[in-house]
Symmetry: C2
Subunit: 391 residues, 2 copies
């Protein structure tokens, strides 16, 4: 059984989140990922809290299974090693500020001339084109500019950040898509390609609903708290011990919900006859539902609603989510295995379950800074000896 990217070599100059999130997925698909880090301190996230015995849990969760070599791309000796690596690589990834690679002499024009089959994947705040191409950006800046904060938060309240770093993460996912598509194209043409992902672009494309509403009605939507903007009841509700979700997408489910709550008269109430009526009286209906649900724990309500065929689920904190039986059954919570003497961390599993990809019982360790230098140099010499002019 071969993994889809068996034999593919990725030279990974990326740091912090968007890029490393992408190269982790390429490693999950079977690629060899060689992380090229700044000598001395390496990837910034090596210094990100929380720590366990001096090592960053954040770095470990994002860099398991990669190899590390420290190279100063301004030193001649290290540039020679870097260029030998490129000679054996299928993909290079970077998330520097646009123009930085050109400044080092490694822009796409130079690289594609010397390494015509190399795929160059870049992710940056605003992309490599447009009036703001050169600017840096953080996750929160693109969440703000892309619109998602304007539709997230309490109804009538202030904009709120999405708790997960989707500004970085969605962009990293599009980088993976672009690299995979470029590898497919190379299978047919033999030629590499440049992939240019903008974090801001990626925030726009995930707004399908808000774009449709804004452009069809002329009115941009605002935040609606925990409820769905156009379906009722479809929100969080309080039980005696916490929040849970009720997702009643149509009249039939609403009738079953009313039965499950022991309130069949609600289904007959003209104020709640249609979804439009329920949306108009959304706050009243919420209070009527919570007068019932607040009396008992959410385990009771979830069991009862599921028995009545009403979509529901607990609002879980991260500790609960990581202990969720379905999540565990899908192998989505894995220890990061540790060589002798190093702390053990936890990382998410591979969300792409597919034929040809084994499901491991643990993640490989994350690399120590420059920890694979000797092995990488030996591997380089062997590859060059076996195929002196294969590329």
């Amino acid at each position: 059984m071969h993994a889809p990217l068996d034999g593919i070599v990725v030279i990974d100059l990326t740091h912090v989140l968007a890029g490393p999130y992408a190269s982790t997925q390429l490693a999950d698909f079977g690629a060899t990922v060689i992380k090229v880090e700044r000598p001395g301190s390496g990837d910034d996230t090596r210094a990100f809290p929380p720590f366990k015995d001096g090592e960053s849990a954040y770095f470990a969760a994002l860099n398991h299974g990669k190899k590390s070599i420290a190279l100063d791309l301004k030193s001649q000796a290290d540039r020679a090693v870097f260029e030998r690596l490129l000679g054996q690589a299928d993909v290079i990834l970077e998330n520097f500020r646009p123009g930085a690679m050109e400044g080092l002499g490694y822009g796409w024009a130079e690289l594609s001339a010397r390494f015509p089959s190399l795929i160059y994947g870049a992710v940056s705040g605003f992309g490599h084109t447009g009036p703001e191409a050169g600017k840096p950006a953080y996750d929160m800046v693109v969440q703000a500019r892309g619109g998602v904060m304007s539709i997230t938060g309490e109804e009538g309240g202030s904009p709120v950040r999405v708790g997960a770093s989707i500004g970085d993460i969605v962009a990293g996912m599009y980088l993976v898509q672009g690299v995979l598509a470029a590898l497919l194209a190379r299978d047919r043409t033999g030629k590499g390609a440049k992939v240019d992902i903008s974090m801001l672009d990626a925030q726009i494309v995930i707004q399908e609903h808000a774009i449709a509403i804004t452009t069809a009605t002329g009115k941009p939507p605002g935040p609606t708290g925990a409820r769905h903007p156009t379906i009722t009841p479809f929100s969080t509700y309080r039980a005696s011990d916490g929040f849970f979700v009720i997702a009643a997408g149509n009249d039939a489910i609403f009738a079953r919900l009313c039965a499950a709550l022991g309130q069949p008269e609600l289904a007959a109430d003209p104020r709640f006859a249609t979804n439009a009526d329920r949306c108009e009286n959304v706050h009243l209906l919420k209070r009527l539902i919570e007068m019932v649900t607040l009396t008992l724990p959410r385990s009771h309500w979830i069991e009862t609603l599921e028995a009545h065929g009403v979509p529901t689920g607990r609002v879980q904190n991260m500790a609960e989510a990581l202990a969720d039986p379905q999540v565990l059954a899908r192998n989505m919570v894995l220890p990061v295995s540790a060589p002798e003497g190093r702390p053990t961390f936890v990382a998410a599993g591979n969300p792409v379950k597919m034929t040809g990809i084994a499901e491991p019982s643990a993640r490989k360790p994350s690399p120590s800074l420059d920890g694979d230098r000797d092995a990488i140099l030996r591997w380089l010499s062997e590859r060059e000896f076996r195929a002196p002019d294969a590329r």
Copy 2:
């Protein structure tokens, strides 16, 4: 110039959001996407508001450039057409409840036996394995169970839904990754693969920060409103005409921020000396900053902060985001071109900018239900005539 998926045929049984979001991206990579819809009503989203002249803007934004044929997979005549389509297909996508395809006689076991090179991509609420494999789920249910709602919202407040439907969308993106990886594997082995994506799994993997904090400290994080949980000042702030973001990631940027605000004494204040000090006094610092920023509009502050090298940006509503010059320069807002007499909609552009993929000035129209039946049947006959036993 060939697009990466030129010549690839996708038979798309998916409906609503997660699946159609995925097949749109495959179409952007050059694939031919044939949407197989239920006769009579088709994809549920054809009936989703908002409408323009009776057509759904939501459907149009997610289904541009696809072809449609209506088939009843329980009728013998239509099953024969469907199986002829599969004979010419590279990929089949579905987002039914797990078990539904088996019920139709089109489970992975049957399909891979008859069409060994076919790639089968499925996305569902909880995946095809585990104790809850058969259950339906909505975006909000997996946002709730996966933990993102527990870290989104006002500090100390109730959990809030992420305004964009990331429960569906992130899962759809992993489906694209899996299909592309399977196509790469097929280039080497000739064999198809099954890809099984769970919306809940996909919510877990985007929580890299919350997982690291929860597992390293034992304490799951809660919501922090618009601010970053561990960096200060890194949040939204009020100007006289709306919100904007200040992202001061280190001491040097904080000093420049104080200068830009005309408050150099803040940088010298021992209560704000280090990031740890600033986090401890985060609410005081916010008020001190807003006492200044509230006096002038955000255009002033963004210009001033950028001149001082402080990362910043407006919190934009969707109308502002869609008019953002950088977004427009990246071709991320496109009209959906309309055949004679049909309304014109707007859709997002392709976020994967790469060599080999042209940037169109408009999106192709979305299909009318069963609107491509004759053309699809003609195309089938031609393919079968030219290559009677190619598969």
